[in-house]
């Protein structure tokens, strides 16, 4: 009995120590008071109403860097992801519509829960996209979150059921193209306006600069939207969600249906 009591006491002590380490311990980690030069530049320029010509007017610094400070860099990162999807689509050429006719899916319990959870995942993903300029997150993160709903539905319901509901190759390709088009237009929106008004502007310009007076408003009626950053986040989110959905749909096609398709088309020629 004595050893049991000792074991119980030592367990309690360990739980207390862990609780202490997780709360008090973590918060007392040494944080330097002095900012490094690069951090100083970012903190003073990411959102600063007193110097609008040098500010990106985006409180979330990572998003400010990604879509404003180095927008073109991000554009090519996005392009790499799309080239990967295009390459996958090319690999599946000829069999990209090989969904089985019927699918059973998992049990009623899993399917019912998936229906509810899919709605919540899509809503949370949209919230991540729309708050990209305010809190950590943004287009890519939110888009990837939304694609999780597609992945869950694929497992719980099977590909045939999704195709029945028009979540298929065609739809995801169209939505993805729409997102990409919107992304390119938002990147050039200041440039297009400048061409019409006959002034100067940059590609991926967000706020007005010294020799390029055109920019999107960073707030509408006092509500912060951070100019093009919000637009870029929205279209990037749409394109990424549809891109992942396209990949998942292609990869979950069964081989036997694809083989049937290929053999029948060869025989037909």
């Amino acid at each position: 009995m004595g050893s049991r009591l000792l074991a119980a006491l030592s367990m309690c002590a360990m739980a207390l120590a862990l609780a202490y380490a997780l709360t008090v311990g973590v918060f007392s980690i040494y944080i330097p008071i002095e900012l490094r030069p690069l951090a100083k530049i970012l903190v003073t320029s990411a959102y600063n109403e007193s110097t609008p010509l040098f500010s990106s007017m985006t409180p979330e610094i990572v998003t400010a860097v990604v879509w404003d400070y180095r927008g073109i860099d991000t554009f090519f990162e996005v392009a790499v992801f799309y080239v990967a999807i295009v390459a996958t689509a090319a690999l599946f050429r000829g069999i990209e519509r090989s969904a089985p006719r019927t699918s059973v899916g998992l049990s009623t319990i899993v399917r019912t829960v998936t229906r509810i959870v899919a709605l919540m995942i899509v809503v949370v993903g949209s919230a991540i996209i729309l708050h990209g300029h305010l809190t950590p997150g943004g287009g890519f993160q939110g888009g990837a979150t939304i694609a999780v709903a597609v992945a869950l539905a694929l497992v719980a319901y099977g590909l045939a059921k999704l195709v029945e509901h028009r979540i298929d190759y065609e739809t995801s390709l169209k939505v993805r193209s729409l997102g990409l088009l919107g992304l390119s237009l938002s990147a050039c929106i200041a440039l297009i306006a400048a061409l019409i008004l006959n002034t100067n502007a940059y590609v991926f310009q967000n706020q007005p600069k010294t020799y390029a007076p055109i920019g999107l408003p960073y707030a509408v009626d006092g509500v912060l939207i951070s100019g093009t950053v919000l637009l870029l986040n929205i279209f990037d989110g749409i394109a990424v969600a549809a891109g992942f959905a396209l990949l998942l749909i292609l990869l979950s096609q069964p081989e036997d249906v694809a083989r049937e398709r290929v053999l029948s088309s060869e025989g037909g020629e």
Binding site: S107, T108, I109, I116, S126, V223
Partner: protein, 165 residues
């Protein structure tokens, strides 16, 4: 129409809880997102809008009260087993078949999840043709089908029927 309103409210609540603030921007974007989500998910989530009655929501609240009470009782029971001097003597693990009599998908899901969420019992399989759940039970006290149903699922099943069937 009702089905879209209900799905809209669910998604708006999810949105605002996730965002964690209620500024003008959150409300405007939340309404926009929820409208789109409601049109897409309305038919998927609510198959029979005539079932959306106040009576059923009241039953849902009553179910939650029962569920929490059962949950506390089951936790205490399991804690007693874990802390007993000889664990292997106080348990009798096994898998039992529990029949159910529910029509709707939501009802079956609520029943199965309630059983799984109560410590000591865990749904491992569902046979829709036989209308039976296979439940792993840490302490199989009886092998009589009706008695098993009384202990494991009766109250949950009645609540699920009142809410969803």
């Amino acid at each position: 129409m009702m089905r879209y309103v209900v799905v809209f409210l669910l998604s708006l609540a999810t949105y605002l809880v996730f965002v964690g603030s209620v500024t003008l921007y959150d409300i405007v974007t939340g309404i926009a997102v929820s409208s789109v989500a409601a049109t897409v998910f309305g038919r998927i989530l609510v198959r029979n809008p005539r079932k959306l009655e106040v009576r059923r929501f009241v039953e849902l609240v009553r179910y939650l009260a029962t569920f929490i009470a059962t949950e506390i009782r089951a936790h205490l029971e399991l804690a007693k087993i874990v802390l007993s001097p000889n664990v292997s003597k106080s348990i009798r693990p096994g898998i039992v078949r529990v029949r159910y009599d529910l029509e709707s998908d939501y009802g079956v899901t609520l029943l199965a999840n309630s059983i799984t969420n109560t410590p000591g019992t865990l749904v491992v399989d569902l046979d829709e043709e036989e209308r039976a759940l296979y439940v792993h039970w840490i302490n199989v006290r009886t092998l009589e089908p009706e008695e098993i149903r009384d202990i494991v699922s009766r109250s949950f099943e009645e609540h699920a029927r009142k809410i969803f069937d």
